[in-house]
Amino acid sequence: MRLSIASSTLAALLLLSGCQSLGLGRAEVSVPATATLGDVVTLANSSGASTLVWQRDSEQYALQSLGLGGPLRVSVSRLDDVTHALLLWGGLVVIPGDGQDRIVAAEDASPVEARQVDRALLLAEALPPATFVMTTCPLPGEVGSSKDLRRLAEQWGVHLSGVDNLVLAGPADRVTKVLRAFSAI
């Protein structure tokens, strides 16, 4: 039995390193130094890493320059996450859809469009950072004041609504920060 676990693990690692040495899962794309947010989104879509579309009225953000000092090489497996990080930096969020995700200015995003997610998923950082999500907090039976939650939400620009059952809505990265700070109180 022990031998079987060891050999299976070894086989898995060999397979993984084999794939990597062959370049599988390590394909890279290059983002030019002069790239705009729109260029990155186009690159992410064309390489199959993302399925993003600009919401009308948010298209102006596509022209925003990244101000990169030099070209940026990104593996395709990381491209969706990196695109999200850049969008969030640019003041945008991504509203998940069925097969097509919409890029919207954070200030224009309506909380009702956020994707309901489990808190554990956020704390595990399992979602790309600009994903527009909502989650309830505090959970039933959990201690914590709504006033405190409101203060933390304000700090990170997260939308908070509700009276008894409070709902946090915002980009996954920021909602996670609010949840972490709230749990430390």
């Binding site: 006033k147 203060r151 920060k177």
Partner: protein, 257 residues
Amino acid sequence: MKLSLVCLATAILVAESAQAGDLLDFPIPDSSVVIPANSDLADADEFTIEDLIALYSKVTGQHCLMDSETQAYATNTLATPLAGEAMTIAPERLQVTFETFLIVNDFVFTPLTHGEPRLFTVTSLNTGARSTIKSLAMYLPPDRLDEAAAHPAMLFTTVVNVPHTDVRQVTTSLRSMFSDPNTQQMLPVGNAHAIVLTGYGPNVVSLAQLLAVADEAERRAIEERRRAHEESKADESAETSQACDVSGAKGVRVAGA
């Protein structure tokens, strides 16, 4: 077969987690970094914040993002403290030195990704971004707060628990210490005794230390008051029993008389 799949998944997870880093684990260059003295350069080649960022990015393999407003400031701001002599920075001191030069010139540093490629952003406090800069603060759990001390240009938020302190009173009385509400804040939270602190790394660390000292002093004062109260209660009951003894003795004498 099932076991093999589990092992495969485990191996992939292990490999992935080994690749993922921590936002505060910054790459350290292989050798010392030399920053030229501005006095040795022609006016057109003067060493600016933009040059400093480019140098830092190159030696650490990271990539910087800047909005156009910040970029204009970075291009036009001389790395003034370097005007004297050329400076050699030891590899392990590069991060803190780089951040120090940023903050003395009103630039905030924020890491954006911890996986490859590593991205960071620099924001000038002289731009409109100043009013929303707090949203870039990184949350650091209280048990990791010491790590913030080495990051003078990064904004952090943490929660400090001070169980013996009246947090509302403390935060009100210390409010005057906070000169810039855009980058600093101290909020009382919770029915328990907790304070949310936001600010630059070293400031947050020293404020948390100050609060811990004040909390410890308060704990001692509470203990002192309790001891004094218990002693006075003990004295009172001793006096009462003495009085009882006296009156009892009197009673005996009266009865004896």
